[in-house]
């Protein structure tokens, strides 16, 4: 099989038969979608540990009431930077990395549509994150007014030090990087698809990324505009948000969340796509309700634009506004529910096996649903006055990000690493990693619901003694969760270097080739693939759309 495909490569395109360049320069100048995908994924992995270390500082400080290890300003820097690093440095780049690796393989394209721009968006991401990280070493420290950068707090000298302009320019770079990535993904999906693949034949991962890319193009520029207004308010005496000059700080919240709400779906829609790819393979059934999955994704994306003010129920909105945003938010539960039921129905009466990627995916379905339910609780405007800015919201969004997005990124790693490297990962260590993560993530975040309902505010380094017990339990869960992720690091390195030594077959997982084009390629995937587009595509996933 492998030999045949290699021959195809040689005959198809005579100036295309070289492998990767030698040496370090390969990684800097590469325009190969697989190389760039690898760069994105490794960068995201590094940032996952950087952001994770910040979380460890936070949990260590909150282990007991009182101030133990860090001063409050640094603590606030940690909460701010943890969020920014995890959102813009870890989760988003990881999904762009998966998109780079998988979309061309899944749609039968030779590479991304705009390979040079692809290289540029990666290195711009690195520049943006380095610029952000540099603020940690500045006089006055890193930004510490919260990742939402709300004025007037963020404009006050005591909270910004010298960091604000650097944080703003970092957001500009990260924004341009993700917009270029999104443009590339859209162009690839629209123009580079194998002629045999119709839109409604596309794997769900490709569909969800297509919709996510449109969200990115629509909202990243708005965020860039909002932070630019902060910058001019601070240094050029404009008064967008400055009440003394006739501005309104609440306006910032509206603009920010017009970006911010679609942003949270930018992090979860590709998650849905990966889950919809993995679950059918291990349930050995076609995905239940393919068409409804596509429409649910599109509906969620549309609704994300018209619900933003549910993040700010307490700013003093008129009742009409509260009611509108409350009901609009609740409607999102409908398409999301469609998805959860479809995943469950896919597993129903399936011949299921429980390899590590499947375990992470099942945990995702269960735990993400819990995060969704707490979201519904907070959608109720009058109740939200109680939950607002407490640990309840912290528990909510961590349930939708950690055991959802992060778990699915882990699942994707276990699922595709054997395909990419040609080596099998160590299943025993994988299972250990899963169980440790799944148990500790609940010890870490579940008690935060109780803390929030009891009234513990977020973003504080010290707290009343009544919150001591649950905080200690949460911190213990946090330390176990943090340490467990070192197992993942070990597995990734080990698998790249040979894994169990077992040679994996081309389809890696039983009958996977029925579920996606990538499994019909040899393992490891050659440096150049689909120089001749496939003539037929698996349509297993559309079969069940009755």
């Amino acid at each position: 099989m492998s030999a045949v495909v290699d021959e195809h490569d040689h005959h198809a395109d005579d100036h295309h038969d070289h492998g990767p360049e030698k040496g370090l320069l390969r990684w800097i100048t590469t325009t190969n979608h697989k190389d760039i995908g690898t760069l994105y994924l490794l960068f995201a992995l590094v940032m996952f540990f950087v952001g994770g270390s910040m979380a460890m500082v936070i949990r260590a400080e909150l282990f007991e009431p009182g101030l133990q290890f860090v001063d409050p300003a640094f603590f606030n820097s940690m909460t701010t930077m943890h969020a920014l690093v995890m959102v813009f440095g870890a989760v988003m780049p990881a999904f762009v990395g998966l998109a780079n690796w998988q979309i061309p393989l899944m749609i039968g394209a030779a590479d991304m549509a705009l390979p040079r721009m692809n290289n540029m968006s990666f290195w711009m991401l690195v520049a943006g994150v380095l610029l952000l990280a540099s603020t940690l070493f500045m006089e006055g420290g890193a930004p510490n007014g919260g990742w939402t950068l709300y004025p007037p707090l963020v404009l006050q000298p005591i909270t910004v030090g010298k960091a604000l302009p650097f944080a703003v320019f970092s957001v500009h770079l990260l924004g341009i990087s993700s917009i270029m990535g999104a443009i590339n993904i859209i162009a690839t999906i629209f123009n580079m698809r194998a002629p045999a693949m119709k839109m409604m034949d596309m794997p769900l991962f490709v569909w969800t990324w297509l919709i996510t890319a449109f969200l990115l193009i629509a909202v990243m520029p708005v965020f860039a505009g909002a932070v630019t207004m902060l910058l001019t308010d601070k240094f050029f005496h404009t008064s967008f948000f400055n009440a003394a000059g006739g501005g309104d700080p609440v306006l910032y919240q509206h603009i920010f969340w017009f970006f911010g709400h679609p942003e949270v779906y930018i992090m979860i829609l590709p998650t849905f796509g990966v889950a919809s790819t993995i679950i059918p393979v291990f349930a050995r059934k076609p995905l239940f309700g393919y068409a409804s999955m596509v429409w649910a994704t599109a509906s969620i994306a549309f609704l994300s634009f018209i619900v933003w003010a549910h993040h700010m129920f307490t700013v003093g909105m008129p009742v009409a506004g509260e009611l509108y945003f409350m009901y609009a938010t609740m409607i999102i539960a409908v398409p999301t529910g469609v998805k959860v039921f479809n995943w469950t129905a896919t597993m129903w009466k399936g011949a299921m096996t429980f390899e590590t990627p499947m375990l992470f995916s099942i945990a995702f379905v269960v735990l993400f649903t819990m995060g969704g339910f707490t979201g519904l609780m907070m959608a109720i405007a009058p109740a939200d006055f109680q939950y607002h800015d407490t640990y309840f919201i912290v528990a909510h969004f961590h349930y939708t990000l950690v055991p959802a997005s992060i778990f699915i990124l882990m699942a994707a790693g276990y699922f595709w690493l054997p395909k990419w490297t040609g080596h099998m990962y160590n299943e025993k260590v994988g299972q250990l990693h899963f169980w440790l993560s799944a148990i500790s993530v609940n010890i870490l975040f579940f008690p935060q619901h109780f803390l929030g309902l009891a009234g513990m505010p977020r973003r504080i380094p010290d707290y009343a003694v009544q919150f001591a017990d649950w905080n200690m339990i949460s911190s213990i869960g946090g330390f176990i969760f943090g340490a467990s992720q070192l197992l993942f690091l070990y597995i990734v390195i080990d698998t790249i270097r040979g894994g169990t030594g077992e040679k994996v077959s081309d389809e890696v997982w039983e009958d996977a080739s029925k579920h996606g084009l990538e499994w019909t390629l040899p393992s490891p995937v050659p440096y150049h693939t689909w120089t001749i587009p496939p003539t037929s595509v698996p349509t297993e996933h559309v079969l069940d759309s009755h």
Binding site: L114, Q156, G225, L251, A320
Partner: protein, 183 residues
Amino acid sequence: MTGNAAKKNLRLARTLFLVAVAMFGFGYALVPIYDVLCEWKWIERDRPDDIKKVPETAYKVDVSRGITIEFMTTLNGSTPMEFKAEKKQLKVHPGEYYTVNFYAENKTDKDMLARAIASFSPAVISSYFEKVECFCFSEQTFKPREKKIMPMRFVINPEIPEQYKTITLSYTFFDNTENLVKK
């Protein structure tokens, strides 16, 4: 990739890039859109700039109703001023004119430019609270250590719905001296 496909990709990329640029503009367009939406009757979010001077008109005084007005005075951040109202609260009848004095003092040895921003609770009554004279209409300049007595003359429009019995009016003084230096 054939030249044709490359051209197609570039064309699509250019279109999408223009969409991104347009969305950057849309972010800025949200500023005037916000101002317009705040004027809508059912939103009624008062903007600091909206506190306009109203000519004194004779209303029929409604002595059957009494509304308590509470006055709050705040200094933004570390604004070096003294600022207080003559009384903490005042019982008023809709339609009758009242004058309340506010006291402000510049605590520095330099000239000072400061601006008072008003805020109402509940916010929706702001359009019934009509001021004919107020220090909040414009920026105030203070000489070094200057003390000022600043009268605020107002009337509650008798059309105010029955349900409002207490209104809190809060003023915050912002130090704009930096702008004075610029001028």
